[in-house]
């Protein structure tokens, strides 16, 4: 048969599918201008407020050296966890995920595209924050950038996994509430503006934001190695949550 609609089914190369899906995710993020501003606004305020003025007691005189790594960690969480959870929750309630599930895009493909899009956003946000930090006098150590990058990727993957899992299990309104609550709790006790409570290795797993911030401080402030407990905690996050998300993720 040779008509217009004569069947010729098939899946495009996975590379093409992923590329186009990532592009769509980024396009839609950019279109939600207010969300982007908010995601950058809070970290910027914290950085300039706590970094330049004596509004909180810090265990060091190098206020920017302490605050900027924390703010970078906060931004990663805000984008990879809070933003991701809320967006995905609503996409599910709009039926977008179901629609994508009825297409050649596979479930791992969608999770990968979402995580990649989040990483791309984080790169831009971290660059902007770092540049602002440098402009107001932040002077990081440049010797341990690779481990700093490593823990950041682990943290982002873990956050993204937990976000996708929450968005799968909870109703969108509940997801929004839970994601915001966790964000506020982490912001308060997560060691951004104050020192985090010392909870040991298990504590790093419970407070990934504090772990990430501490690792960034170790590397960017002191040029030191990342403590093994933190590597372990963040690696666990990067494995456990994405794995659970891949199993529990629902299209509907």
């Amino acid at each position: 048969m040779s008509g217009t609609f004569a069947p010729a089914p098939g899946r495009a190369p996975m590379r093409t599918i992923l590329g186009r899906q990532i592009r769509m995710e980024l396009l839609l993020t950019a279109r939600r201008g207010e969300a982007v501003v908010l995601a950058m606004g809070v970290p910027l305020l914290v950085m300039l407020g706590a970094g330049l003025f004596d509004v909180t007691n810090l265990p060091t005189d190098d206020r920017l050296g302490y605050v900027v790594p924390g703010v970078l960690a906060l931004t990663v969480m805000s984008t990879a966890f809070t933003g991701q959870a809320i967006t995905t929750g609503y996409e599910r309630s709009y039926g977008v995920l179901k629609r994508l599930g009825a297409s050649p895009l596979t479930r791992p493909g969608l999770l990968l595209a979402k995580t990649a899009a989040v990483l791309a956003q984080i790169v831009v946000q971290v660059l902007v924050l770092a540049l602002v930090g440098l402009a107001v006098g932040w002077r990081p150590e440049a010797g341990a950038l690779i481990p700093a990058l490593g823990v950041t990727v682990l943290a982002a993957a873990g956050y993204s996994g937990l976000a996708l899992l929450l968005a799968s299990v909870l109703k969108p309104e509940t997801t929004t509430g839970a994601a915001t609550l966790i964000y506020v709790v982490m912001l308060s006790i997560g060691g951004i503006m104050f020192s985090a409570p010392a909870l040991g290795a298990a504590g790093w797993f419970l407070l990934p934001l504090a772990a990430h911030a501490e690792a960034l401080r170790a590397t960017l402030m002191h040029g030191d190695a990342v403590p093994a407990g933190i590597w372990l905690a963040l690696a666990a996050w990067a494995i456990v949550w994405p794995a659970l998300a891949a199993r529990g993720f629902r299209w509907e």
């Binding site: 609609f5 010729a8 089914p9 098939g10 899946r11 939600r32 709009y94 179901k98 895009l105």
Partner: protein, 313 residues
């Protein structure tokens, strides 16, 4: 019969004794149906008859609570990834990024396919060209439906599932959609659609499955359904108040209003001659004769409301 057929010769859709439950509610109570390749099957029924639940099973979004479904010979849940590129699925509503434009959405789904249709052609065919740069949430319900249909077709599928495809469309869009579905069938695409519109089922479907309360109430081609019911109605206008006793042998006769007689029963050629002969015999002055064939609507209403049509009113 043994297991359901697998492989290239398998039916487009084969459903055997499928049960779908939501908690204590049974939405589909054991439904079997078969859609051969290249045909159009309409699932006809009221809202809540179980059509969408059955479709969800075929689309792999729900595992049936009983029975089994095979789509193109594959398991819709287990073989989801292998199946999806071969299917075109139109969901009942929504399903699209509210902030993306119609053009962006269609091109996204086109990019997922190995041999997509030309997206401009599809936008033109569905009257969506002028909305190419309009965001989805700004489209009317009917426009959203047309985009949804375009998304279902863009990958050149061999089987399409259309859930209430013309819901919310105006008359013109409905006819465009019907022409499109007829073209799909002509081009060898198998189509399973749900509808509660009788004219839609009658016009498009090779086979109709009427569902009622989660069960198959009747199945057949539109012609089979209307004639298998076997009741043509003969309406005769004659003198009022005739004694109908002699006419009643093997027939139902009612005087629906003064001088209007409705006769059902054995109404083949000989039967018709007998009836008219009876009117002549009693000396009645027949002024009008009308035969009425049952429409799909009569069949549908009688099956879904369980009040026999054509019986005494």
């Amino acid at each position: 019969m043994g297991g359901l057929m697998v492989g290239g010769d398998a039916a487009a859709v084969e459903v055997r004794d499928v049960v779908v439950r939501y908690g204590d509610t049974t939405a589909v109570g054991g439904v079997s149906l078969r859609l051969p390749r290249g045909r159009v099957l309409a699932l006809l029924g009221h809202n809540g008859a179980g059509k969408t639940s059955l479709l969800q099973v075929c689309e792999g979004f729900r595992r049936p609570d009983g029975g089994q479904a095979r789509v193109l010979g594959l398991d819709p849940v287990g073989d989801h990834d292998a199946l999806m590129p071969r299917l075109g699925i139109m969901l009942q509503s929504g399903g699209v990024y509210p902030w993306a434009t119609a053009g962006e959405i269609l091109r996204l789904f086109a990019s997922f396919a190995a041999n997509p249709l030309d997206t401009d052609m599809l936008l033109d065919r569905l009257g969506l060209r002028k909305f190419e740069r309009t965001r989805f949430r700004r489209l009317s319900g009917g426009e959203q439906q047309r985009l949804s249909l375009a998304v279902a077709l863009v990958g050149r599928p061999e089987l399409v599932f259309l859930d209430e495809p013309t819901a919310g469309m105006d008359t013109e869009a409905r006819h465009t959609t019907w022409q499109l579905i007829e073209e799909l069938r002509a081009d060898g695409v198998s189509v399973l659609l749900t509808t509660h519109l009788l004219d839609e089922a009658e016009r498009l479907a090779d086979d109709v499955v009427i569902m009622r309360a989660g069960l198959v109430a009747a199945t057949g081609t539109p012609a089979e359904l209307t004639s298998a019911a076997g009741i043509d109605v003969l309406e005769v206008r004659a003198d009022p108040g005739l004694d109908l006793t002699g006419l009643r042998a093997g027939r139902t006769v009612t005087e629906t209003s003064a001088g209007e007689y409705a006769i059902t029963g054995s109404l083949d050629t000989a039967g018709l001659a007998e009836v008219l002969a009876w009117f002549a015999r009693v000396g009645a002055d027949v002024t009008a004769v009308n035969t009425r064939r049952r429409t799909l609507e009569d069949v549908y209403l009688s099956l879904t409301t369980q009040t026999p049509v054509g019986a005494a009113q």
